[in-house]
């Protein structure tokens, strides 16, 4: 539209629009003397940069720092004899991703189109050809196979059972704790130390007892006493009974096994980066939504507290929150209570990101017309249901690009933990590049991890565009 030039109306046959590379170049690169000079200058600069980069990459650059330390880049100082645990976490995530994808795409005729197969093949080929991933080829190809198999299975399940998605979501929730246990290890039931693993205590004990109590309360009804009292009693009975059984059963059976424990000091590399980012994202999202709702609330105290929190946090740099989080959190807790430093890092990231996310969600909330909540209330929905079912879904839909943008910056912000002492991807690279063996290999190392960060961030923003398109109900 900018390039359309005005010309007098011509009579006769319509002009033939010339096509082909020459015409294209004339239109887009050489349409005025200024643009022609610009194009030539830019081409010269680009050519020289590309030439010097290629010669550097293939002749001078020493990529051994990456090939030799690929495991360290991925997992930090994680003991190599326990790498199978990391691989099983990857396999679990891949299988779940496949299941989700299949279940979401259950109405498509065939899951694997031509482009997709080519893409998958390309990814597999890439990992096979790359020198540093070649030793792990069977694992990587296995993970890809799990993805594909999971997708096929997910589609079949999704067609057969309507509630498949719900169970897969629950699977994602459980998988987080399984992953934590697999990575951290330690006694599974905690016979000696009296501390069962996170997975066992949260998912099995609490989850099992909650489900048992809920089922008991919803299936049995006692006629005489009022319903809510009997339900509560039944729930408590079921909860306590099952909790006690699950708590004592391992002792009774004399079960005692577990994985070798790996201290969080040894977690690192891309693994730690992803763990931090995912935990931060999962935790800051509900906090941010609550803060945004609080800031829009009509209750003065709720609003004042939310505004104070958001503005205070948004006014200080993240690095100070993270660093002081490492120092101050133990000071604010009772003597002797000292959370793990990965936990402290996640707390710092969450505190920071929640404030920014709240502003993004608030923008989305403001975009929902007042009439929507009025209409909902006139249908008889109460405040809570109006917010949860009508306003929030629409607000989140408009806010998706901003929210994903915030997630991307949270992912990038995990690098700051590298200077606080955690050996996540950037931290481990700094350590490796500072070693005398790889002196001066900064360019190679930084280019490699920049590519990793770029791929993840780009994938996130690409995904957000896709979701935005899929949810776009604006029929224009």
């Amino acid at each position: 539209m900018i390039t359309a030039s005005s010309r007098p109306v011509e009579r006769g046959a319509p002009r033939v629009i010339s096509t082909g590379p020459v015409a294209w170049g004339r239109k887009n690169l050489f349409n005025s003397w200024f643009n022609s000079i610009l194009t030539v200058v830019l081409l010269l600069i680009l050519g020289s940069v590309a030439y010097s980069f290629t010669t550097w990459a293939f002749t001078q650059a020493d990529w051994s720092v990456i090939v030799a330390n690929f495991g360290n880049f991925m997992t930090g100082l994680y003991p190599p004899d326990s790498y199978w645990r990391v691989w099983s976490v990857l396999g679990m995530v891949m299988a779940l991703a496949g299941l989700t994808w299949g279940a979401l795409a259950r109405n498509q005729k065939s899951l694997f189109g031509r482009n997709l197969l080519i893409g998958l093949g390309g990814v597999a080929l890439f990992f096979v050809l790359l020198p540093m991933t070649r030793p792990y080829m069977p694992h990587i190809l296995g993970a890809l196979l799990l993805l594909v198999g999971g997708a096929a299975l997910g589609q079949a399940l999704g067609r057969k059972f309507t509630g498949a998605i719900k169970w897969i979501s629950a699977g994602w929730f459980v998988s987080y704790f399984i992953a934590l246990y697999l990575l951290g290890g330690g006694p599974f039931f905690g016979r000696g130390t009296m501390s069962p693993s996170l997975f066992y205590s949260i998912i099995v004990m609490l989850g099992g007892s909650l489900v048992a109590g809920w089922q008991l309360a919803s299936r049995i009804s006692i006629p005489v006493i009022p319903a809510w009292i009997s339900k509560t009693i039944l729930f408590l009975v079921g909860f306590i009974a099952v909790y006690q059984v699950l708590w004592r059963l391992p002792y009774a059976l004399n079960l005692d096994f577990g994985l070798k424990s790996v201290s969080t000091n040894n977690w690192g590399g891309l693994l730690l980066t992803l763990l931090l980012a995912i935990s931060g994202i999962v935790l800051c999202f509900p906090a941010g939504v609550l803060l945004a709702l609080g800031r829009r609330s009509k209750l003065p105290i709720v609003r004042a507290l939310s505004v104070a929190y958001i503005e205070l946090i948004r006014g200080v740099p993240l690095i100070s929150i993270l660093f002081m989080g490492q120092v101050l959190i133990p000071l604010f807790l009772p003597e002797g209570v000292r959370p793990d430093r990965v936990v402290r890092a996640i707390i710092g990231l969450t505190i920071f990101s929640a404030a920014y996310l709240a502003e993004n969600v608030r923008a989305g909330l403001q975009a929902v017309p007042q009439g929507q909540s009025e209409a909902a209330q006139s249908l008889g929905l109460n405040k809570f249901l109006t917010t949860a079912l009508i306003v929030l879904p629409q607000a989140l839909k408009t806010a998706i690009p901003a929210i994903v943008g915030q997630f991307i910056s949270l992912f990038q912000d995990t690098t700051l933990l590298g200077i606080v002492g955690l050996v996540e991807l950037l931290g481990i690279s700094q350590n490796l590049l500072a070693s005398p063996t790889y002196l001066g290999d900064y360019k190679e190392g930084y280019l490699f991890i920049a590519a990793i960060y770029w791929i993840f961030c780009y994938a996130m923003s690409y995904g957000s565009q896709k979701i935005e398109l899929a949810l776009n109900t604006d029929l224009r």
């Binding site: 539209m1 900018i2 390039t3 359309a4 005005s6 887009n28 690169l29 349409n31 643009n35 610009l38 194009t39 830019l42 081409l43 680009l46 209750l299 003065p300 105290i301 709720v302 507290l305 205070l312 948004r314 006014g315 200080v316 740099p317 993240l318 690095i319 100070s320 660093f323 002081m324 120092v327 101050l328 000071l331 604010f332 807790l333 009772p334 003597e335 991307i408 990038q412 912000d413 690098t415 700051l416 590298g418 200077i419 950037l426 700094q430 590049l433 900064y442 360019k443 930084y446 991890i449 920049a450 960060y453 770029w454 961030c457 780009y458 923003s461």
Partner: protein, 476 residues
Amino acid sequence: MANTPSKPSFSLRSLLRDERFWQIAFQVILVIAVAALFSYLFGNLSRNMSRSGINFGFGFFKNPASFAVGEDLLNYRAQDSYIKVVQTGIVNSLRLVAAGVITATIVGVAAGVASFSNNWLLFKLSRAYVGLVRNVPLLLQLFFWYFAVYLAFPRKENQILFPSPNNPWLIASNNKLNLVGPGLSDEVWVGLMLLAVSMLLFGLMWRAVSAFREGRFAAGIAGWIARIADLALIAVVLVVNYFLLLTDSPDDRLYFKGGLIALFTNPEGLWIVALVALAAAALVVWRIRLKSMLEDGQDGKALLGVLIGIAIAAVAIILLAFNWTTPTVDAARGAVGGLEMSMSYAAALTGLTFYTGAFIAEIVRAGIQSVPRGQWEAARSVGLSNDKAMRLVIFPQSLRVLIPPLNSEFANLAKNSSLAFAVGYPDLYSVANTTFNQTGRPIEVFLVMMATYLSINLLISLNMNQLNKAVQFKER
């Protein structure tokens, strides 16, 4: 609820159904919960602090700091107090932020406008720049610039001289970078003060001229409140940095080297106080006179002359008081003169510039896109070329949408400047960190740091709000 007035008797059931009751109860519960949380946290804090024998207080800031700072503009010596070192850090931070705001705006606007170029290559380059830089963490980019680019420069024996060895504009070695520009000597502070005064005068004149143009005073009381708040905030920044950090040594000279006390104990300082008081009085007189002139129906031609005069004076100040020089080769030190930048400063500035520039480019792009297509077409139809249409019609209109997000981007830049410490630049965060490590006083140091960053951000946002008001639609 509707028939409660007819039944004045109190009943629990109706109370429980009253929405207002629940609103108040919820807020009371929230306040109690927050207060309980805070009392728990601060109780722990005071117990922890008393256990380690620390009393809360800022007194330790007067102790000698006894650590060296890489670069400073305040003649800091290692035996000076922590007050002085924190001031040094603040000045260093401000120096980075101020330069970064200017360069990032230039880069960002250029890249944003380039994405509307009808040169395909330039357009693609601009998009590639944004897509590449936004998806790689800032800290990694800073490391890249510092370790892989600036420290890879040749040693000072064969330093780079650009454009010619005899008359260089730029001298670069792996130690420092000398550029044609303002040498940062002591007189810079005088220059900065003069510049600030001339800016203030310029703003006043501008208002007077626009008042003449419109035939009335445009802004009511709101503008004045904003301006007073602005001035008050400058005072807040000073107080924040000096209230806790007052120097009481009368030897300290003025120009930021002393502090507030020096203003009143020093003959030069008294001059400035008198000048400010006179300016305030003149302001009132000026306003009264302006009003009467307006009522007499005079035109503002003379004022316009004054405006231009002040602008010329400001340019003269920039040119003369900032000691502009070209760098020269020096046998012992490599290079002297000009704008001397350490490698840390150069790396931090480059990294911040390109990172923030990419975000600003996206903002500019969105702003230009928000200008209706009809404006382009109208500009083209009155015969403006593509460049002129952009410069005269589209870009000025896009400013309206552009300022608020630009504001938050500048605030981000100010906060991100704290990452400069990772490449060894002694900014506020860096000196605060060292102070904390030496004294073991995390709370006090954190408070000072937080207050300073908060006031810098507030200052940025107040000024941007003023700018925003200036470019909004004038609705008559």
